[in-house]
Point group: C2
């Protein structure tokens, strides 16, 4: 009997939504009483029963009062809409309309767009094209229109919008059952509307929202038709019929899981919801199978479903292992589904899952953008993607509404100048209206990689306008590049030393249907395409995903407390078996210099004799070098494979042991790269574009430092941003480097010391302990009869 | 006696400054009276004398009263300052300070700058460097500081500023006599402070203004010292001692003339003024001598001095034959000196000279800029120069103040957000304050070239965001390029089909001292560097200035009344003897297209068999071609001379007679170039950068259409801007051309007819009469049994 009562109370409890504190109170009370009944055996069982009855009655009454009072202030999650925009949200939005400028503006824009589309009519064409083609773009447009029209119906109470959604849904319901698998064969998981299940999932994520909005506009028969002919077979197709797509840990699966999950929430189908959260069970899979991007479908024993997709790719810091470009893409399904789940089934506490990682991921993602909001290029990523992307509007609004109303997010929302037309967007609009926003300050930050945060990290050093992105992560799943310890440098939101990004023109049909180009594998993923070490003209991990995905770099130091000397240091010991790489990047703000500069120390130690290439992908126009180079009459192809086949050798020089200097101009700013060289190091001016029969690559330049026949090697360089040019005033200011010389004062297994001298004969010495990163350790080192003592892993001192 | 009285009256008249109406009245009166005396012989000569005496007395009295009353309201031009800022101007400025925002702001900025410089102290170093180097940049800075400090002294009545100018001037006066000719040998006219007299002249133009401002702050002895030790020898050096510099028609000479003229005005030295206005007389010169840019010093019999420099390079439309980049540079000395002359000696009526060409030139120059204000690239020109250049602030302000207060200029001044700190700047500031500004609307315009406007022209077609610049001018003096009938295309202020500009990094010392690079001659000036015909891999006029400067292209049609069909057509018959070139460029706004498109018809007819190359310097990334090309494993150098040695051949294809299409992406916009080709025409993808040992060139792309073994040839193409891409939404809109086919329906000596068909099977036919440009002529032409009749040189009709 006790058991029955417990169940009863819990059921009632369950219906008292959101009244968490009261639930806790009840549970404590019940547990105390139960204990009492079990221990005080002296009381007769009748008395027990009577007391119990009183208890049940009073509790039920209390609980129902609570429920009643709640209904007056907070929405019930039963009924529709209840996923993204809720019944209560609709009420609140309506009562605020006209007084919430950013929301009103978004609403007006959306209304204008949808009104025009309703006027033009819609098309539901027979699927045929890859992305960029008509049928692809039309189905893509349709789901966006339905989602927006659904919301407009709720907010504006105008049946026209509901009717538009209804008409389109019925058109889909009529045609969907007749459509075979999409005719384009490229995908490992072909969709029905689109060439891949991924896009079909996109469709369902949006359409489920539209359905939620017009649910009550439809009668039961209509709903039955839609669910039977369209939604359930659709959900089954992308899950049960494509487990190789659905049962993964990958952004593809996240979309699939969320799509099915959201439709499950609308239809109140717990079986389907469980499938979304925990995957399609009892499916055999082949652990060697790969997707068409070259990524494994699934590792043996790997968890599946939505929770698994939160667990694995996100580090505890919220870094998404594929990188910000894909996080931006994945963040929408993660967060839109989490939001729906929170609204509809708060007991899942999805935003608390894994110590609140979904909210943390928003902060991480925003920190992975440059000062203009463009995401840093890590792994496969298209340049120009930024937090102005539509999915980031939703991300920021959800982050604000469900993540504790961080006022910094309001300033981003204000720049986005748009909010989502739902409860979260309303919260943001009200926050802005009330003037609550504060600047979102991006500071230097290290974001760990790996489900447990122990698979390396991305280190971002920010110093005034400079932003240095240093990569020492895990592989990044199928979108990973083979570029351990690579970096990129930005100034004032412009890339100065570049990461190439991916070789793809997303959705531009002319370029391979808008999909990945073959040069993505042969060039963009290869090590030589990045600002890091390539050994013996072979990519790290032999350019093999199977090997690369088993390893990660390791953090060594990340120290940014002193904003004038910020240090990120990391080690990679698996990229080339037998060779250890240790790179330390430092931003130094020194009053003797116009701007902060970057010190870069790359130590290589190997058991074998190798050739080491360290490219420097500066963007801009060469102004001057301090070394004589021999420009070839016609370029040569630099190598045969591993990306080298895509590089032209344009010029070369032999180093004489002096510092080399490369001075260049970009965006009317002068930069200088100063690097220490040994006698007979080779310098190669290269240009991207060889073996590129269709002009898929950008023909940008690089300067490669090459050390031949070396076991150990030490690459040390400084990057300065020191001057400006104006084509309007034609004035060149500080066109030259401020550095006279950089030199290695000391280099052993234990310590490396570098001296940097200015033209005014001031000098600084940076010393790092190479094997002891205990920040409390005391060090003492004598160099040229001078004793240096310090505490911690590194020191920067004036050299008098 | 009559003669004497006339002189007397004129002298008196002369002193009644600015009272033009009264002058006119007096002259009319006198003339009437003189006529009266000559005709009424009956009146005795005594009576005549008596009447005359009365007249003289009354006129003198009237005139002097006028002068007296004027002094209370308008400044007298005697005294100082009187050149740029006048006594009256100073009064008016002071009384308006604090209520003229744009002026107040400029004043505050200037004050802040000069205060800081005064605090830092100045240096007058011994001349040593080329531009970009310390001594060059310091002397350059000094003259700007003196000019500004002088003005501040006048406006703020603070002796600190006068003292600063005085100290610096005395430092110069002390050192100047000891300095030899500048040690750097590159110039045909070496200066003393700078490596060329040109920069010395810059110094004097600014310094004369400073001297004018502090003239009364100095005592006579001080003035004597400065004039004797510095100003007179300085003026003599750049004029008498360097007549090869001073006695030219060239922007160099304009600076020299203005410099000497302005100092003459300050010192009230009429002999020196005459030298400025009319040149150094009695100097022998060698007509074969050239300057270091390759331009002739002077043509035989050519006029010299300031007026000659107004006469010759400016066409009656105000187009400056060297092009807008140099006009921008020259406009400052032209206008600053004209302003000084107008203020000090209005009787010269300098702004009325040559039918007011100096004011017209301002309008012409502003029209030679793209929608963002960047000047079009014609001849030697550095990209990025715009009407935000300091000299344009002065140009616009002078244009407003002395050119009839055109409210359009106020909108440009407002964008410049700065005014000159003088009478003209005050007028602009007051105009803006009073809200008088109107948009400066740039329309399609043809600007004739040549002193008499009969040496070709520049035609600018503007259609919505598109701006097409079509060049059919004279050579453009020593800064001219060999590119008759070339064009460049801009959209929304961005260059789409480029003119390379010059090969020079102005004032960037790292690049050849900031001077012209040798690639300017070997590449940038050559025909193949431009979007026009090169015959037999030889530049037009054999690339020889001597030949090129004797010829010009000829206007044929410029018709822009119908903004939907705008036509510019021109002929060139001297670039290649025996070959005639006729190019017609049309912008067509057609509702079947997203944006206006450009139709380009280049007719070549020759007595001989030749090879014709027509390059197309598109900027951006190749998306797709409809023809298969063979990309070379490594590029080849395209040719041996005439610029071909700087082009790499990267890929080639053989045309099959079908239209070729090149689709590309620039600044997130999609463009397509469609061109008619004959069987076996060759298509070459080229890239700039061969034989460029120091990375002086930009490595941009071109597509060359090559017709071999042809006498006559017809190149017909269409350029469309048709779509957009967003890297944020990743949406590609209208990525493809709207054109199915273009074809030549008819081509004879008399007529050329081109048909353009859209993908929706609509077609238009453009017909041009090739030999009769009478706009009233009636034409009838039957093509494929269809009769076309029209009036005027061309027609565009629907083809049903």
């Amino acid at each position: 009997m006790n058991k029955i009562i417990f169940q009863e109370v819990l059921i009632c409890n369950k219906s008292v939504e959101k009244s968490k504190n009261i639930n806790v109170l009840l549970i404590v009370l019940l547990r105390s009483l139960t204990l009492f009944f079990h221990t005080t055996n002296k009381i007769s069982s009748y008395l027990k029963s009577a007391l119990l009855l009183v208890l049940v009655i009073s509790l039920t009454s209390f609980s129902c009062k609570e429920k009643e009072s709640k209904e007056n202030t907070v929405t019930s999650n039963s009924g529709h809409p209840s996923l993204i925009i809720t019944k209560q949200g609709v009420k609140d939005i309506r009562s605020n309309l006209g007084s919430i400028p950013i929301f009103d503006k978004t609403l007006a824009t959306t209304k204008k767009e949808i009104d025009s589309e309703i006027k033009n009519g819609f098309d539901v064409p027979t699927p045929k094209d890859y992305s960029g083609g008509y049928t692809h773009e039309t189905h893509k447009k349709n789901y966006v229109l339905m989602q927006k029209a659904g919301v407009l119906y709720q907010i504006l109470e105008d049946d026209t919008y509901a009717q538009f959604v209804k008409d389109m849904l019925f058109e889909y319901a009529k045609k969907y059952p007749t459509w075979p698998i999409h005719p384009k064969p490229r995908s490992y998981a072909r969709g029905k509307l689109f060439w891949q299940c991924l896009n079909d999932s996109n469709w369902l994520v949006y359409t489920s929202q539209a359905y939620d909005c017009i649910y009550d506009f439809l009668n039961e028969e209509e709903r039955n038709t839609l669910e039977t002919d369209l939604f359930r077979p659709f959900a089954d197709y992308i899950s049960k019929e494509n487990p190789q797509f659905f049962n993964r840990v990958h952004n593809h699966a996240t979309w699939g899981n969320s799509a099915v999950g959201m439709m499950a929430l609308v239809m109140d189908d717990d079986e389907l919801l469980d499938r979304a959260l925990n995957g399609v069970k009892d499916v055999n899979f082949n652990p060697n199978k790969k997707d068409n991007d070259g990524g494994y479908i699934r590792k043996d024993g790997q968890k599946i479903g939505f929770y698994a997709n939160v667990d694995e790719p996100f580090s505890p810091d919220g870094y998404f292992t594929e990188g910000p470009y894909y996080q931006r893409y994945a963040s929408y399904p993660f967060l839109i589904f989490a939001q729906a789940l929170q609204n509809k089934k708060p007991e899942h506490k999805v935003f608390e899952y894994k110590d609140g990682v979904l909210i943390k991921s928003i902060n991480a993602l925003l920190n992975l953008s440059d000062s203009g909001g463009d995401f840093f290029l890590l792994n496969d990523a298209q340049k120009g993607m930024s937090y102005f992307n539509a999915s980031l509007i939703s991300t920021v609004d959800i982050g604000y509404h469900f993540g504790g109303n961080d006022p910094g997010l309001l300033s981003i929302a204000k720049m986005q100048d748009e909010v989502t037309l739902d409860d979260a967007g309303l919260a943001v609009a009200l926050g802005i209206k009330e003037g609550k926003e504060k600047p979102f300050v991006k500071k230097s930050i290290e974001l760990s990689d790996g489900a447990n945060g122990d698979e390396g990290a991305v280190g971002i050093l920010r110093s005034y306008g400079l932003e240095l992105v240093f990569k020492y992560t895990a592989h990044g799943l199928s979108h990973g590049h083979f570029d351990k310890l690579s970096f990129a440098l930005f100034e004032d939101g412009e890339e100065v030393v570049q990461d190439y990004g991916m070789s793809r023109f997303v959705n531009i049909e002319q370029k391979g249907g808008g999909n990945y180009l073959k040069e993505n594998k042969t060039w963009a993923k290869q090590t030589i395409a990045h600002n890091t070490i390539t050994q013996n003209e072979t990519s790290q991990f032999k350019g093999k995903y199977d090997i690369g995905s088993k390893h990660h770099s390791n953090k060594y130091v990340f120290s940014v407390a002193n904003e004038n000397v910020q240090v990120a240091s990391a080690k990679e010991e698996n990229a080339y078996p037998g060779t250890k790489l240790h790179r330390t990047m430092v931003t130094i703000k020194d009053e003797d210099y116009e701007n902060p500069y970057v010190l870069d120390i790359m130590r290589v130690s190997s058991e074998n004799t190798n050739q080491y290439d360290l490219p420097f992908y500066f963007l801009g126009h060469v102004m001057q070098t301090n070394f004589a180079y021999n420009k070839l009459n016609v370029p040569e192809v630099l190598g045969k494979s591993d990306g080298y086949q895509h590089l032209f050798k344009e010029a070369s020089a032999s180093a004489n042991g002096e510092n080399i200097k490369l001075n260049w101009l970009l965006n009317n700013k002068f930069y200088t790269y100063s690097a220490i060289n040994s006698n007979n190091d080779e310098l190669i001016f290269g240009r991207i574009g060889a073996n590129d029969p269709e002009y898929n690559l950008r023909n940008e330049q690089t300067l490669i430092l090459r050390k031949k026949n070396a076991k150990d090697a030490l690459f040390v360089s400084v990057i300065e941003s020191h001057g400006t040019y104006s084509p309007v005033s034609e004035l060149a200011i500080n066109a030259y480097s401020n550095i006279k010389n950089i030199s290695v004062l000391y280099n052993s297994k234990e310590y490396t010391a570098v001296q940097i001298e200015t033209k005014n004969n001031k000098s600084k010495v940076f010393i790092i302990s190479n094997e002891n990163n205990d920040k409390d350790a005391a060090h003492k080192l004598t160099i040229n009869n001078k004793e240096y003592t310090w505490q911690g892993t590194y020191t920067l001192t004036e050299n008098e």
